[in-house]
Symmetry: C2
Subunit: 254 residues, 2 copies
DNA sequence: TTCAGAATATCACTATATGATATTCACTAT
DNA sequence: ATAGTGAATATCATATAGTGATATTCTGAA
């Protein structure tokens, strides 16, 4: 038997899955959405979308105003529980504090969420970026510290995230051809850290390293700062410290 | 026909409702929960609870580790969307900043979430509390600034929240008999602000006022600080400013 | 090895989610 | 005013997807 086509994906708890698709869709689009937009965007029948939104509204995970539907306050309460309860976040925080204090840079931790990463902890350094890394914000995997996630994936995983892009566009500098980019990812995996300049944010430099525990990539630690603050010496020191921090978090996390 | 009993609540999207009950249940209990605990706590059949948790895990709203199930990172991303997109939060933030700057106290905004309130915005003052008000944290309605929510409810609403409690216990000081407490709520409603000392947090004082827009209570603004910092003059000034801030947020919010 | 507690798999039944269609509502422009 | 447009809501028949009882496997402890 040759390769089978797309698996059937016989749905289980279809309505529940759809409910969270709706929530995610609202979370992604930064503005309030009309019923019809939600229906279109999620592929739901408009009647279904409406029933769903009603239920979500009752639970306060979605709020409706004259401008349309958006995320509700219940999401905030759930997130709080994540931030104060999640083991990785708890063990990482003191390590991030040490990093920020030692280097004067903003230290942060992100975890993978589907085709993106989410910042789950951040400690400000003494030389803050004008651009604030947003806790809870979805950031791309293919730029900046996100590359570390791609670096440790196999080719299939990488392709799934990257799609059929021919070159990677960055905030500053020339686009990188995909073949060259993949070589870069391999280098990151073998070195155990990544350095990014002007990739996602213009004028920003970051050093990032994996938090790996028996083969699993739990998250990525990074420090970031404005380009002019990072002398070659500081960069070298930061690299050492960040790699160590990643290992330290992995070791301490239960 | 005399009063009918409890309405039948013919369920619509039952599984979706249940899914969010599971999420809320996990969010409330600060520690990871076992499958059986979730099933017991939510009243779901264990098989149902498991199917549910599986789906929730796939969506990353729930995470499982050796200790059990807890909230996943997807909740954080949704919450971020709420914080940067919610109109009330956006309009309140500059007002809270003014408050914090003018009074030197921590200013915050909370909204009602079922039988509790959730802090949705906070700006630190110059004399920070040793106790940090937690953004996203669920706080009770019957103590501190939460009283403002109760103050503007009708008796039925109040009773629903308060249940059949005979007296209100506070962090410091004597318990308040419920009749006296309800009088206090009425006073808060008529005065348009509340002052709380040692109610929810020992050594803390807060002044709180409603954010009301054509009859609806959108949220509550408050300033809080350590008891010793609040001279009678500062308290009087804070009261004026907080009431004004509440009105200002209501007026500006679309 | 036995046992207990928990997690997972299987399955028949029907309550529940679905989407087509119809209706009402909210605005604009005429 | 009034018609016209698009969106939001209500109704309803159908079958599918969710349910919970039961059985099985897994994991440690005694």
């Amino acid at each position: 038997m040759a390769g089978e086509g797309a698996a059937q994906e016989r749905s289980i708890m279809r309505s529940v899955e759809r409910a969270f698709e709706v929530v995610d869709f609202l979370a992604d689009s930064g503005r309030p959405l009309r019923l019809a937009e939600v229906a279109r965007g999620t592929g739901l029948h408009i009647a279904t979308a409406q029933r769903m939104l009603r239920v979500l509204e009752r639970t306060n995970y979605v709020a409706q105003d004259s401008a349309g539907y958006s995320i509700g306050a219940a999401a905030l309460a759930a997130a709080h529980s994540y931030l104060v309860g999640n083991n990785l976040v708890l063990t990482a925080t003191p390590v991030l504090q040490e990093l920020a204090a030692a280097l004067g840079l903003t230290a942060s931790l992100s975890v993978r969420l589907g085709g993106a990463r989410v910042l789950v902890a951040r400690v400000e350094g003494s030389s803050p970026l004008r651009y604030q890394l947003p806790v809870g914000g979805r950031l791309p995997l293919h730029l900046g510290a996100g590359k570390v996630f791609l670096a440790y994936m196999d080719d299939a995983g990488r392709d799934e995230v990257l799609g059929d892009t021919a070159r990677i566009e960055t905030a500053g500098g020339a686009p990188i051809p995909i073949s060259e980019y993949k070589t870069l990812l391999d280098e990151i995996a073998s070195r155990g850290y990544a350095v990014s300049r002007n990739e996602r944010v213009l004028g920003a430099v970051s050093v990032s390293a994996p938090v790996r525990r028996d083969g699993n990539l739990l998250g990525v630690v990074q420090v970031s700062g404005p380009e002019e603050n990072l002398s070659p010496e500081l960069l070298a020191q930061a690299t050492r410290e960040v790699v160590r921090a990643g290992a330290s978090i992995a070791a301490r996390s239960r």
